[in-house]
């Protein structure tokens, strides 16, 4: 069994699945209103921006990531704190980033590991209407699907495979 990246991050009896590039790709393709949440670790920001653009997925920048994105000549759809966006995703009545209805899939990239663990826990318990995928470095047992614990290189390959799968 894959252990959480921060090894004591064991929430309880119900743990999410370890994703594969194929399962992650499939979940994103199936989603009707996905949302991409990009955090402060900035490890795979380029990948996230490209995915958002190519798949037309709205992007929320947490922390001060919007400043970095602006330096790269782009803009996120929304700037919100990590807990703020989690709170919005919890509310069934929220109409989503683009006003098209609450999202049905939240994809996390580069949020601070232990903060993301708490965000995912909140959604697991209080947002049954939404599925979660963590593509941040390190396994997150609170996500429906999360990466295994991968080296930087392997993580890059995983993400590339997801992008490739989505492009097909």
């Amino acid at each position: 069994m894959t252990r959480a990246y921060q090894c004591a991050n064991v929430p309880g009896p119900h743990l999410g699945k370890v994703g594969t590039p194929a399962s992650v790709t499939s979940a994103i393709k199936r989603a009707e209103r996905p949302i991409l949440i990009v955090g402060s670790e900035l490890a795979n920001l380029n990948w996230a921006l490209t995915l958002a653009k190519e798949q037309n997925i709205p992007i929320v920048a947490t922390a001060h990531v919007a400043g970095t994105i602006a330096e790269m000549g782009a803009n996120p759809d929304r700037v919100l704190g990590a807990i703020e966006i989690t709170n919005l995703l919890k509310s069934p009545e929220w109409s989503g980033i683009r006003g098209e209805g609450q999202h049905d899939l939240a994809i996390f990239v580069d949020v601070l590991y232990y903060l993301e663990a708490q965000m995912l826990s909140a959604l697991k318990h209080f947002a049954p209407h939404i599925k979660t995928i963590s593509l941040t470095k390190g396994h997150q047992p609170n996500a429906n699907q999360s990466l295994p614990n991968l080296s930087k290189k392997k993580l890059g390959e995983f993400l590339a495979e997801v992008a490739e799968g989505l492009a097909k």
């Binding site: 090894c7 119900h14 947490t62 919007a66 994105i69 602006a70 704190g81 919005l88 601070l112």
Partner: protein, 774 residues
């Protein structure tokens, strides 16, 4: 006629008169200082309506850190997917219950401190010892006045207040027992209540300390204290105090001075005892906050280690033994299975310690002082020449044992790159390990996880020795309460917004990126003419930084409670004075009676005093109660990202919330604004926190000039760190007069795009709607 100790009046032999209480002149004066308000000595239910009003605007957001409840023998109970525990509890109530338990623990720690120090000081000085906070403080106990409704004149008067504290704590904690409260909102109300009691206990503790130890009484020019590893003169015997309770360090300084040994011994401290000791003697050295504890003990510099209570590592007996330093415990909080030698002859205890007894417990501060000093003097020559850290070539050899499994990175709370640093060290490059010194909190979880049992903390310290030992900083000694004269000066500009806010940096040192971020936050706001105040580990963390001109923050900025000041209030318990300052704005500037009048005061602070607490390294249960208590007074708090592990935030839902305030001047409910937007919020990065602090200082009472100043800071900081205008700017601009003049065209352009429409500023904003209008 007097017969058998009874007074008999002629003609009234059969009439008995019972006298309940004799009213003295002093008691009459007490009754007259202010009319008693509605809620003196509030119980758990007394302020419940206020809590529910707060929680309407700032509902709890829960992020469980554990999906189960494991508190009774029915359990473990799985609370996922709407499952209930065997007692009927659901996941939200369980989170709120755990928060309440944390707040009770935090309150108990401060109340324990208060009980402890008060009783010791009464033993030293007697219960009639006066409380005198000097000529510039008339409102000397604002929390006690507001919550309890009394003015303490002597140490003995504080005992009655602690009886109330202890009683409320018992009631709050008892409600967490299995099978009672089932509402998360009411668990939260109890958490807010017991945390207000925490604030009260801290005020009792610090007033007692100021009166009993003659600490500074709000002195803006309190002494600059030498700070850091580098400040310690290692040629002298070195005593290090760790913890929070200053009776022993104070007694030790007295003992040393009485024997003319002041120039011959170094007295140092880590964590709040360090701040307290420096409030007593400017010659005491401050090593640093809690995060420096393991590093400094490992360095082996201490000849005697003295522990008192709270926030002390539980393995310091083991760590002290590694360096050969005797350990002296001084309170019932930490016993480590060591013998209690309080009643033994101190000379014999010293002899035993010198002969290898690893440690003892001495609960009498004066006896402990003698043992500590004499042991340090005699231990120093025995320890001279010992080397406690590995040499660099040994660090390299140790690193060569590393198998690159990476569990050190995964065990680290901040996921620091320990493995990569080890790989570098194998090649003789110690830069990676050295770079870890600043962000590392020296918790040692990496060592516990290491399959090769490498002493990673020691390796980091050795690699960073030039950084660690090469620098001496300065920290202004904790000054204690804010003066009434200072409040008179800043009260109006604070309420009108012309001083943009009070930024209070408090709490522990579980920082996401080291101490430097607290200093940077302080510098950002001091430069912008906010009033920056600090206590505890944050006050110490701020000292470990030099501004561009080479000065420390305490050297560069004045210690007065005024725009642009950087004010070290004192230890954890002294942070009661920060809440006290907000209360005093209501009392002195707005002339609102304090006595038993909690709701009106808290409502005033929430709507009119632009203050924001920042517990960037919040770690402990004490920080939970400090923050939650601060919230009940109407002051928002930002915690660092680790604060998300407290399981609960208080946040508005700005896209779904309706903001309603009562305009006391107009006598009606009106459209409000998200000011403050959240009450307890974990930020992800320092940059995000800085932007939020500026936003959280906005208040509905700001006049146009004040709002311009606050928005100017908010917009400027948002642009600096986020690259754009704030996306929620339209929520804070009431009309064109609020727009900073230099930003007018770009802000107007933005507002037009956002579909903004002007609205009236609220004349006298409140969250308390009169009953007849509900």
């Amino acid at each position: 006629m007097i017969k058998n100790e009874r007074v008999i009046i002629d003609g009234m032999e059969n009439v008995t008169i019972n006298i309940g209480k004799i009213t003295t002149e002093e008691a009459l004066a007490e009754e007259e200082w202010e009319p008693m308000g509605p809620t003196p000595k509030p119980g758990i239910l007394s302020l419940r309506n206020w809590d529910h009003r707060l929680l309407k605007d700032f509902p709890p957001f829960y992020a469980p850190i554990c999906d189960m409840c494991c508190l009774c023998t029915y359990g473990k109970c799985d609370l996922t997917e709407n499952r209930k525990g065997a007692c009927g509890i659901g996941i939200e109530a369980q989170q709120a219950r755990m928060v309440l338990i944390a707040c009770c623990i935090g309150t108990a720690a401060h109340a324990g401190h208060a009980n402890h120090v008060l009783h010791e000081l009464i033993r030293w000085h007697g219960s009639d010892h006066p409380i005198d906070l000097g000529p510039y403080i008339d409102v000397e106990a604002p929390i006690i006045r507001t919550v309890v409704g009394t003015i303490p004149k002597t140490l003995g008067d504080l005992e009655e207040i602690l009886n109330y504290v202890n009683q409320q704590l018992v009631h709050a904690l008892s409600s967490t027992h299995t099978g009672q409260e089932g509402s998360f909102i009411d668990f939260e109300s109890k958490a807010l209540h017991v945390s207000m009691i925490d604030n009260l206990a801290k005020e009792v503790a610090d007033i007692a300390q100021i009166a009993g130890f003659d600490f500074p009484k709000g002195d803006p020019d309190a002494a600059l204290i030498d700070f850091g590893f580098g400040s310690v003169d290692r040629t002298k015997p070195i005593i290090v105090f760790i913890g929070h309770y200053p009776a022993v360090s104070v007694a030790t300084i007295d003992y040393i001075e009485e024997r003319g040994l002041s120039d011959k011994i170094e007295v140092c401290g880590i964590c709040c005892t360090a701040i307290e000791t420096s409030r007593y003697s400017a010659s005491a050295k401050v090593i640093g906050p809690l995060s420096m504890q393991q590093f400094f003990v490992r360095s082996g510099i201490a000849d005697v280690l003295v522990l008192d209570e709270q926030c002390v590592r539980t393995d310091l007996l083991e760590e002290a033994q590694k360096t050969g330093a005797p350990l002296i415990l001084t309170t019932d909080k930490i016993c480590y299975n060591l013998p209690d030698v309080t009643s033994q002859d101190p000379d014999k205890v010293v002899a035993d310690l010198l002969n290898g007894t690893p440690g003892v417990l001495i609960s009498d501060p004066h006896k402990a002082a003698k043992v500590i000093t004499e042991t340090a003097l005699k231990m120093k020559p025995k320890r001279d020449g010992l080397n406690h850290l590995p040499e660099l070539d040994e660090v390299q050899k140790l690193a060569e044992e590393c198998i690159k499994c990476g569990w050190c990175d995964r065990a680290c709370p901040n996921s620091l790159p320990v493995k990569d640093a080890m790989i570098q060290a194998k090649e003789g490059d110690f830069g990676g390990l050295s770079n870890l010194f600043s962000p590392c909190m020296s918790c040692g979880r990496c060592e516990s996880e290491c399959k090769k049992e490498l002493p990673i903390i020691s390796m980091i310290l050795k690699s960073a020795q030039e950084i660690a030992f090469g620098e001496t900083y300065t920290m202004r000694a904790g000054r204690g309460p804010v003066l009434d004269t200072e409040i008179r000066k800043v009260g109006a500009p604070l309420v009108l917004g012309e001083i943009p806010g009070i930024v209070a940096l408090v709490g522990c040192s579980n920082f996401p990126n080291g101490e430097v971020e607290v200093a940077k936050i302080a510098e950002e706001f001091a430069r912008r003419n906010y009033i920056v105040v600090a206590t505890g580990c944050s006050a110490m963390a701020m000292a470990m930084y030099r501004c561009e001109d080479g000065q420390t923050l305490y050297e560069k900025y004045p210690g007065s409670f005024d725009a642009g000041g950087v004010v070290n209030i004192g230890s954890c318990v002294a942070n009661a004075h920060i809440i006290g300052a907000a209360i005093k704005v209501a009392a002195i500037f707005a002339r609102i009676p304090l006595r038993g009048n909690f709701e009106e005061i808290a409502d005033y602070i929430l709507n009119k005093v632009g203050a924001c607490g920042v517990a960037w390294g919040a770690m402990s249960q004490k920080a939970a109660s400090i923050g939650t208590g601060t919230n009940r007074w109407g002051i928002p708090v930002i915690v660092g990202p680790h604060g998300s592990k407290y399981r609960r935030a208080y946040i508005s839902n700005k896209e779904l919330s309706e903001w309603e305030l009562y305009d006391k001047r107009a006598g009606k409910v009106v459209e409000g604004e998200p000011a403050p937007e959240h009450l307890m919020y974990p930020a992800e990065t320092m940059e995000e926190a800085i932007v939020l602090i500026a936003k959280f200082c906005i208040r509905p009472s700001d006049n146009a000039k004040g709002r311009q100043i606050k928005l100017s800071n908010y917009v400027d900081l948002h642009k600096k760190y986020m690259g754009t205008l704030p996306p929620d700017l339209h929520l804070f601009v009431r009309n064109e007069r609020d727009i900073p003049i230099t930003m007018k065209s770009e802000v107007m352009e933005y507002l037009e795009e956002a579909g903004w429409e002007p609205r009236k500023a609220i004349g006298d904003p409140s969250r308390l709607v009169p009953e007849e209008e509900v």
